[in-house]
Subunit: 152 residues, 2 copies
DNA sequence: ATAGATGCAAAAACTTTGCGAAGCC
DNA sequence: GGCTTCGCAAAGTTTTTGCATCTAT
């Protein structure tokens, strides 16, 4: 009933194999409440698997995403962030440092999706995404310090 | 009263200068209803200014964005897309090829932004973004052809 | 046994930047 | 004339990939 068994089945169904690396990548991502970039996740995973390569982390994130076990949050400049919570939920992104966090509020149904479908013509609209943006506590602190230093 | 004059004023106010390259980058972007990546825009701009460099296109897009004349749409994997329509409006993004298009529907007020602020704790929430996702007509065609070829 | 995954490293894709020359104000 | 921007090219980031080896099934 654990995540591993469901994942293992899903992997096998698509002709894939369950490797230590794949399991640890997903387990590690799932254990975080932050939403790291691939490079950040690589560093964390290396604590458990020192010899894993960046390529493997990228390949597994891609595979897990295709299987629906991970979502990619590629809003904002710089690297994509990854999230093992795949049921729709809202995020906040820091405009300053790019950090992404969950927002614990109930998700609303898609606004005006029927109107969007009508306006989209021949496009097939499958969903929508909402992202809040702002400044995270850490960067707000830094900004304040900067203002203080500059004396304005 | 044209875009150029307002832009020129805005540029000057910030100690900048109005160059041919800067004007053409913005004019070209504004003349498209597509939302090209920097590289795509570079190719189009080169028809008018064959000697312009990629660096100049990137630098100007960055500057014009800071001045609020361009918005950056960096949803999705791969390169950022740019849009000279800066008043808020909805986009659709193709999950297949990454193409971005406008959606001509009226924008709703921010959903539950007060709730988001409460849930965000110490974050300062300044806004939100909504993006519809789906499959564009071109990729839908390709998918159909593929399905036909595979006979499934 | 064998197809799929890995580690390594090189390449590709995307963006920024240093520098000397050129151009806007 | 002075300070910004330019073109060029190199470097920085982020992601993908080729290949020989290894491993889960």
């Amino acid at each position: 009933m654990g995540l591993d068994e469901r994942l293992e089945d899903a992997i096998h169904e698509h002709g894939g194999r369950m490797t230590e690396q794949r399991r640890v990548v997903l387990e590690t991502l799932a254990s975080l409440n932050s939403h790291p970039t691939a490079a950040e996740l690589y560093e964390i995973v290396r604590e458990k698997l020192p010899d894993i390569s960046q390529g493997t982390v990228y390949r597994n994130l891609k595979r897990l995403k295709e299987l629906g076990y991970v979502q990619e949050l590629d809003y904002g400049p710089g690297a994509s962030h990854f999230d093992a919570r795949v049921e729709p939920h809202y995020h906040v992104r820091c405009l300053e440092c790019g950090r992404v966090a969950d927002l614990e509020i109930e998700r609303r149904p898609a606004p005006c999706i029927e109107e969007a479908r009508r306006a989209a013509g021949e496009w097939v609209i499958s969903g929508h995404r909402v992202e809040f943006v702002g400044i995270c506590p850490k960067c707000r602190g830094t900004e304040t310090e900067q203002r203080d230093r500059e004396g304005s």
